[in-house]
Subunit: 119 residues, 2 copies
DNA sequence: CCAGAGTATGGCTATATTGCCATAAAGCCA
DNA sequence: TGGCTTTATGGCAATATAGCCATACTCTGG
């Protein structure tokens, strides 16, 4: 990679890898659905399995990915394992992205980011 | 999936797929690096190839992924193809995530999201 | 038109991800 | 302890992704 970048950029490769890991955890429809559900209230694996409609082991592995990325935390309650989200940024972030991305695939392009985005 | 969700959630599978596509585009260190660079100023493929240090075809394919996700746009200038980012949300988003995620892998956990996050 | 710079795409292999089944691990209760 | 519920993990096959080389495509200048 390049050295002496002028301003905000030029992060370390480790930082990019860490961010990529988080993004990778978000890069699956089922996991996004689970995050949305967990954003409403804590749920255990069984409940999530029911709502997602996949195998229990699949859901458990998805949850492991999200937890490894630091996006959710777990809390035991008897034999159940309840999960909760650790950050509420996700929704705002995707809303912003959709405001910038949707117009491109529908009507025109450019602008539009100003509507739902701070920058 | 489940019906009648109370509040914000319960999006359509298409919406989750679209979000996953964007997240997948972000799920690679080189692409994050390229987005950071493009956030500073527009760059052509040749310049990006130089800075990233990978094969030109690899960089071109990364750019195609980012463009398909709607994260960047291109503009021809002679034989060169200059790219620019379409949304500045990314930096804020990752900063927020890191504020919520880092503490978990370093010292304690929980809280911390309030520091850099609106929610 | 021709040559060359700049970019995109096809083809290929190596690696990673996904999702299921089977099964192990952990905790509760009789 | 034994049986039950709930989760997590190992293993496997199908699919997707990453990166390179080679090459086709596009535009400019002579």
């Amino acid at each position: 990679m390049d050295q002496n970048a002028p301003q905000t950029s030029a992060r370390s490769p480790q930082q990019y890898a860490a961010r990529a890991k988080v993004a990778k955890a978000l890069a699956h429809p089922s996991r996004l659905f689970m995050l949305d559900l967990l954003g409403q209230r804590d749920l255990c694996v069984q409940e999530l399995t029911q709502k997602v409609g996949a195998d229990q082991s699949t859901v458990s592995k998805h949850l492991a990915v999200l937890r490894d990325a630091g996006l959710i935390e777990s809390r035991r309650e008897g034999t159940s394992n309840y999960y909760r989200v650790t950050c509420g940024c996700l929704d705002d972030f995707f809303r912003c992205l959709e405001a910038a991305v949707k117009p491109e695939t529908e009507t025109d392009s450019s602008v539009a980011c100003d509507e739902g985005c701070s920058t």
